[in-house]
């Protein structure tokens, strides 16, 4: 089966890096992978996104119009990509910055207060890692160990960052596991 995910947010939220980590981890696992940044009109003006495909067969189209998963780090991203997610797919919502509920009822919606949880684990700039952890936990691919391995290598030059980011990553996975993922805004909706 092919796993494809669109990761979207403000420039500066680290969405490109999230995608790269997924792609690297997938490759480690022996999967075929592709990572495609958006470099279109959104380039300026703050939004950014990338598409990652993980597959056992050679990757066909690296562009995915209807992804199986969405990782939305801010509201414009949710607005833009939510309608495109395939039925039965996954939508991870950064509920720290997105106060509206997800409108789809045919996908699995996971609310993660990524920024809040990042602050909680003492890594305020690690919201992307929290969200990534949540996605990896929900999707199951790439394997958790591979993701941790790649995160470790990515920050290898600054050892303190490795632990901080691993903590954020794990906090995201934990949040999924414990179900403590719904943000207040959504709970109230």
């Amino acid at each position: 089966m092919q796993h494809d995910v669109v990761i979207a947010g403000f420039g500066g939220q680290g969405v490109m890096l999230m995608g790269r980590i997924l792609a690297y981890a997938g490759m480690r696992q022996g999967l075929q992978v592709s990572w495609l940044p958006s470099y279109g009109p959104e380039m300026r003006g703050g939004t950014a996104n990338c598409t990652v495909v993980l597959s056992e067969r050679p990757v066909g189209s690296p562009v995915v119009e209807f992804p199986r998963a969405l990782l939305a780090m801010n509201l414009p991203s949710l607005d833009k990509f939510e309608p495109k997610v395939k039925a039965g797919g996954i939508v991870i919502v950064n509920s720290s910055l997105i106060s509206r509920p997800c409108r789809r009822d045919d996908v699995r919606v996971v609310q993660v207060a990524a920024n809040d949880l990042a602050i909680e684990v003492g890594n305020p700039r690690g919201a992307n890692m929290v969200a990534l952890g949540a996605y990896a936990a929900v999707a199951g691919v790439p394997a958790w160990d591979r993701v941790e391995e790649v995160v470790r290598e990515t920050f290898a030059r600054k050892t303190d960052l490795v632990e901080k980011n691993l903590a954020a990553l794990r906090r995201g996975a934990e949040a999924v596991a414990t179900g403590a993922t719904a943000s207040p805004a959504v709970a109230g909706a």
Partner: protein, 77 residues
């Protein structure tokens, strides 16, 4: 009397006006606008001398200045 108005949606939070104001009238805010910028805010309107340096500096024409009554221009612009 001068009045400074910053349009929160037009502001990109660059901080140049804050630096330009000789009177410390403006501060970089802590609120995000819809584009994700911490926009500048007028926090000490009282001290404003109407010099327009903030307006002149703002790259996004996010600042307007109104006056009430006679206006003393510090310089030709």
């Amino acid at each position: 009397m001068s009045q400074i108005v910053i349009d929160p949606e037009a502001c990109k939070g660059c901080g140049l006006c804050v630096q330009a104001c000789p009177q410390g009238v403006l501060t970089q805010g802590r609120d995000l606008n819809s584009k994700g910028y911490f926009y500048a805010q007028v926090t000490a309107q009282m001290r404003c001398i109407g010099c327009r340096l903030c307006c002149i500096t703002c790259p996004d024409v996010a600042i307007r200045m109104r006056i009430h009554g006679t206006f003393y221009r510090y310089f030709q612009y």
